[in-house]
C-alpha cells in the first residue's frame, strides 16, 4: 500500500478509483492531569509523553485508513490530508483522509 499526499504517483497511472477513505482516532489530551506535564509547564520545554501520544494517534489513524483502503481493493491512497479537531473537553481527534485508487506502473 502506497500512501502519499500527492495527487498522482510518479511513474504510475491510476486504473481504478474507489472514492474517499478515512481513518480517525480520538484521544484524551488533558495536560493538567499529567503530573510531569504540570511541572514542565513551569519551566517550559518539550512534553515527550504527549509527542509520543500524538505519534501513536496519527499512526493509528493511518492504520485505519489503510485497512479501509485494503478492504475496497485499492493498492494506493493519494492526496492524503490530516485534520484535527477538538471533539470534547480535553479530547482531540486526528483524522486522515484520502482517495483510494488502484495504480499500475507506466510502461
Amino acid at each position: 500500500m502506497t500512501l502519499t499526499t500527492l495527487e498522482y504517483l510518479p511513474g504510475h497511472k491510476v486504473t481504478e478509483h474507489y472514492g474517499i477513505v478515512s481513518g480517525s482516532t480520538v484521544r484524551a489530551k488533558h495536560i493538567g492531569k499529567d503530573f510531569f506535564a504540570g511541572l514542565k509547564n513551569i519551566v517550559g520545554g518539550e512534553l515527550h509523553g504527549y509527542t509520543e501520544l500524538m505519534e501513536e494517534t496519527r499512526e493509528q489513524s493511518l492504520q485505519r485508513l489503510k485497512a479501509q483502503a485494503t478492504k475496497v481493493g485499492a493498492n494506493a491512497v493519494l492526496g492524503i490530508r490530516f485534520a484535527t479537531s477538538d471533539v470534547a473537553q480535553g479530547a482531540a481527534e486526528v483524522f486522515a483522509y484520502g482517495t483510494a485508487v488502484r495504480v499500475s506502473k507506466d510502461v
Binding site: T2, T4, T5, P10, K29, G32, V43, Y50, D106
Partner: protein
Amino acid sequence: MFELILGAVLLAVGYFVGSAREQKHFESIKLREKEFLYMPVRPDKILDAQTVEKVELVTASVVIAGDYFKTVASSLKSMIGGALNSQETLIDRARREAILRLKEKTKKLGADEIIGLRIETMALDKMGVEVMVYGNAVYSKRS
C-alpha cells in the same frame, strides 16, 4: 501571603529556567538546520517522474509547553492587545523542531528530499502547542 511568594517564585523560576531552556533549544535547532541544509524541503508537488524511484508519506510531530512566565505574561498582554512575543518564539521553536524531525526521519529512510510539506498547528489547552508536519519522502533513481 504564602500564595504571593509562591507565585513570585514560580514566575522567577519560569523566567530564568524557561529562557535558558529556550535559548538552548534554539541553539540546537540552528545547529541541526545547518546540518540538514543539503536536504530540500518544498511545499510544492512538482516532480520529474523520470528521476524518481518512489515516494512515501512521512510525518513528524512535537508538543512543547510554555513556561510559567510566558503563560502569565501572555495572559496579561492579551488584555491590552498587541503582539505576543513570548508565544511567537514558542510556536517558532515547535515548527522548526518538527520540520527537523521530518528531515531526520527522511534521512533515516534513505530518501533524498521532501515535497508537498504541510504544517498543522494546534493549541494544547492554552498551555502549549502541538505541531504536526507531513510530506512525501522522495527517493531518487540511482544510476
